[in-house]
Symmetry: C2
Subunit: 242 residues, 2 copies
């Protein structure tokens, strides 16, 4: 069985850990990073550095045009929607927070799946691979904290989108190869992820989770607070915050 | 009930006819056109002209970066994969043709849905609309001929992708508003579409269906042949080919 895989790598703790895991599992792995109008580009530099450290092929796609369409979000439009600090109303765990980017994971998965399908069609139709020996995997890093807040980080969503991309693809409808979306840390807390990252020797000092692009993590945004709590509960040191 | 709708308008006969139909059905309609590395930009000029004729708001998104990921196709990569002429092997109706762009409609729908969701979240959370009074519609123009060839033009696909974007969205999971993907001409032949276009006074001379960007339609590619056959069967004149 030859596995073709794409891992979505933002440069944060979660996706870096999943990428390290994927690197151990498959041979043909591409890390895909999106520049999509995040308010800073620090994450992108981190994604490049992590791919290099892990010796994974890296593709960067500038999809910042989605500011024009996915505009109702603090991540794509921070002037209209300030990034929330630790306030009750906007915190993850209550309603879907303003850091939700409309249909972001649907967009990301469809782009990742298109790259994966192009590579696989090439291997079958040009290079003569046997479809029965080919596997298609997309690695993603949603986890327990995300899916309490974001609809497109929940298991029900991954189940449905897998069926949809299968039905809409040539590799499934003509060659019988299903897309397998792997979400290996979906039940993990941040503490679990910190432990796994240590175990896999993820270069943590090269990751970036903060919603802001300052020199050091702000320690005020939801993302910083959740990460700090995770390392504390795991009794581990976050080298980024030393 | 307030309907928010996005219609995917390529500038061809099919999507122009569906856009004219949508204009008659809903009030808040945006036509969305993608520049995605088609081998010519003629279709895009046509989409702009048709939107103007039909008095529909028009948004153009340059997603030509998808050449990098959806590269296994004659439409995104004509140098590697020449556009097929009327040969048996590549003709629509046999296997999925080389003009299939990997996961194209999944990408298009996710982008359209993101715009629609942004507009609807704004109407509810900023302007105070009642979610029970809001409807979300995406108009698309697959038809009988397409779905015999392209997996992402078949009813099974639309059924699955609707469920997926519902599960991945805030408007559905928090406000109970489902995305309704309307494919009003899915069972139509080209002759049926030509008749409907005449009935709706679609400015046919402004549409473009040919895969090539020459002055006049090439009359050799699959798309030209299907269009000509449709007008002939409907006993109508195609003003573009006069």
């Amino acid at each position: 069985m030859v596995s073709y895989a794409v891992t979505l790598l933002s440069g944060g703790l979660d996706s870096s850990t999943v990428t390290a895991l994927a690197k151990n599992e498959v041979s043909n792995l591409t890390a895909l990073t999106f520049h999509y109008g995040q308010s800073h580009s620090k994450e992108i530099d981190c994604a490049k550095a992590i791919s290099k450290s892990l010796k994974v092929e890296h593709t960067l796609l500038d999809i910042s045009f989605i500011e024009k369409i996915s505009w109702y979000s603090a991540l794509t439009n921070p002037e209209k929607f300030p990034i929330p600090t630790n306030s009750e109303k906007n915190q993850i765990g209550f309603n879907i927070p303003i850091t939700y980017v409309p249909l972001r994971n649907t967009i990301f998965i469809s782009l990742a799946a298109s790259l994966l399908e192009s590579n696989i069609l090439n291997s079958i139709e040009i290079n003569g691979a046997n479809p029965d020996d080919v596997e298609a995997i997309i690695y993603m890093a949603p986890n327990f904290i995300d899916y309490s807040g974001y609809p497109d980080c929940r298991p029900e969503f991954y189940e449905q989108i897998s069926k949809a991309i299968n039905q809409g693809s040539k590799i499934y409808t003509e060659y019988g190869i299903p897309f397998n979306i792997k979400t290996p840390i979906i039940d993990f807390t941040k503490a679990d992820i910190a432990k796994l990252a240590y175990k896999l020797s993820v270069p943590l000092e090269k990751t970036w989770s903060c919603y802001r692009g300052t020199d050091k993590p702000c320690q005020e945004c939801d993302s910083c607070i959740l990460r700090a709590k995770g390392f504390k509960e795991a009794n581990l040191i976050d080298p980024l915050c030393e």
